[in-house]
């Protein structure tokens, strides 16, 4: 970074850096575009714009200048989710900066998940927590939007709060899970489990291959 390296064409930025001799101890995770750990900022020759992406998903280009972001620095608020009301008032208490959004859409352009980030911020402003939570369900918390935001919004933690409020207070509770947990606690499946635990590998394998599959019963 800051030096020129010759690498084969077609590599991702992450692989190119490793090819050039770097070893990642931060800024690398799943390598599949899902964990959000490998944010990278870069400029391409002939282009004035500073672009962002995930190092494991972006291929290198000739003459590209880049830097890996090990972490997107932002202060994380501490709260008790069960004590919060799922509305704009709660969110403004922890993230007052969201009212500074000028709808520039830089966040949306930065998002490697192609989420409608600005729409989500505006949905929060409109007190529509459910819509916001659904818009940013696939957020991987890479923080690249926050690095581009002129309003200094802390999107990863903001969206985490939105999803938590939605899950805890707005989605209906999954009764079937509660019932099943109750059954387990009451020991209804103990006998079945101990039977399985005593089986040989062959018996288990036979049981597994012959199991009933939903929709696939003969």
């Amino acid at each position: 970074m800051g030096k020129a390296y010759e690498v084969p064409e077609g590599l991702t930025i992450m692989k190119a850096l490793e090819y050039a001799g770097f070893r990642f101890i931060r800024g690398s995770g799943c390598r599949g575009g899902f964990c959000g750990a490998c944010g990278v900022i870069y400029r391409s020759p002939g282009e004035y714009k500073l672009r962002v992406g995930l190092a494991c998903q972006t291929t290198v280009k000739d003459g590209m200048h880049l830097a890996i972001l090990p972490y997107s620095p932002m202060v994380k608020p501490i709260y008790r989710i069960d004590k919060l009301k799922p509305d704009l008032g709660t969110i403004l208490k922890y993230f007052p900066e969201i009212v500074r959004c000028v709808s520039c859409n830089s966040c949306t352009k930065a998002c490697p998940q192609d989420l409608e980030v600005m729409e989500a911020i505006q949905a929060i402003r409109q007190n529509d927590i459910a819509r916001a939570a659904n818009l940013i369900f696939d957020c991987i918390m890479c923080g690249l939007c926050s690095t581009r935001c002129p309003a200094d919004i802390r999107h990863p933690y903001l969206f985490q709060l939105v999803r938590r409020l939605y899950g805890k207070h707005l989605l209906s509770r999954a009764r079937h899970v509660e019932l099943r947990v109750k059954e387990i606690v009451e020991g209804r499946w103990e006998a079945e489990f101990s039977k399985l635990m005593k089986m040989s590998v062959e018996e288990l394998r036979k049981l597994y291959t012959e199991r009933k599959i939903e929709g696939g019963e003969k």
Binding site: G89, C104, N105, Q126, D128
Partner: protein, 269 residues
């Protein structure tokens, strides 16, 4: 101005309506529905910024409002809408002023168009209207459904600032507006005249110096009271918030949104 008698509008609620003035929205939508006026809320809309920027090069502050106008433009192209209706006078003021700035300064429209590369160009054609204009333009429909007589009400109309200033976007004479009084008079509601109907309530000073607001509101309210009003009617959520610093539940004077007052008149309390 014949577009004002049309019956189908796009609707831009604005952020304040969705959190701090839900009852204003509820009564307004109910009233318009009863009048046979159809509203369609924009699928996407953006904070207008609440206050228009007065700096000459502050184009960034026009972005949200312009995006909203472009959303409206897309829907107007697909459907038969005659304008974009607002409830909040600040939204009205900002959107209307953005239209004005972009009409008069093509360079700014050009810069915005370039900047919002992912959006279509704004063609300047969206009529922004305030609910008061639509009510006044459809008085006959209101008369038709006004079944109740509000003989006990003596109403002081409080306009505030943002529907009337600057004069280029005013819904009526900025010095002596009468649009709401005329509307109410034709519905046989008693009006109280007083000199502070366009006086500023103190607006966002409520955030930094509450006393400024309290002093100003006291002046407005006591004048209305002295002249015998028992209702002060407003159309702006911020005016309402500020008036309520002085006007409390159980007082001789009640603060009421115009829509709420009119809903009383059509017999739907």
């Amino acid at each position: 101005m014949n577009y004002l008698s049309s019956l189908k509008y796009l609707y831009y609620p604005g952020c304040t309506i969705k959190r701090d003035a839900l009852e204003y929205e509820e009564k307004s939508l109910l009233l318009l529905r009863k009048m046979g006026i159809e509203l369609k809320e924009l699928e996407s809309w953006y904070c207008c910024g609440a206050l228009p920027s007065l700096a000459i090069d502050d184009i960034m502050s026009y972005v949200g409002g312009t995006r909203t106008l472009i959303e409206a433009q897309k829907l107007i192209r697909r459907g038969d809408f005659n304008g974009l209706l607002t409830l909040c006078p600040m939204c009205y003021n900002v959107l209307k002023r953005i239209n004005l700035v972009l009409e008069n300064d093509p360079d700014k429209l050009e810069i915005l168009t370039e900047y919002m590369e992912e959006e279509e160009r704004y063609g300047l054609g969206v009529n922004v209207v305030h609910i008061v204009e639509v009510l006044a333009g459809n008085i006959d429909r209101l008369k038709e459904i006004a079944t109740e007589k509000l003989t006990e009400f003596k109403v002081a109309v409080y306009y505030g600032c943002t529907l009337l200033r600057p004069k280029e976007i005013a819904i009526d004479d900025p010095e002596n507006p009468e649009i709401i009084e005329n509307l109410l008079t034709s519905l046989e509601v008693a009006i109280v005249d007083y000199p502070f109907k366009t006086e500023c309530c103190g607006s966002y000073h409520i955030l930094t110096n509450r006393n400024i607001v309290v002093d100003r509101v006291k002046r407005i309210v006591s004048s209305a009271l002295r002249r015998g009003a028992n209702i002060i009617t407003v159309v702006c959520p911020l005016c309402m918030y500020n008036l309520k610093q002085v006007v409390k539940e159980g007082n001789k004077l009640r603060a009421m949104y115009l829509s709420e007052l009119l809903v009383h008149l059509v017999g739907d309390r």
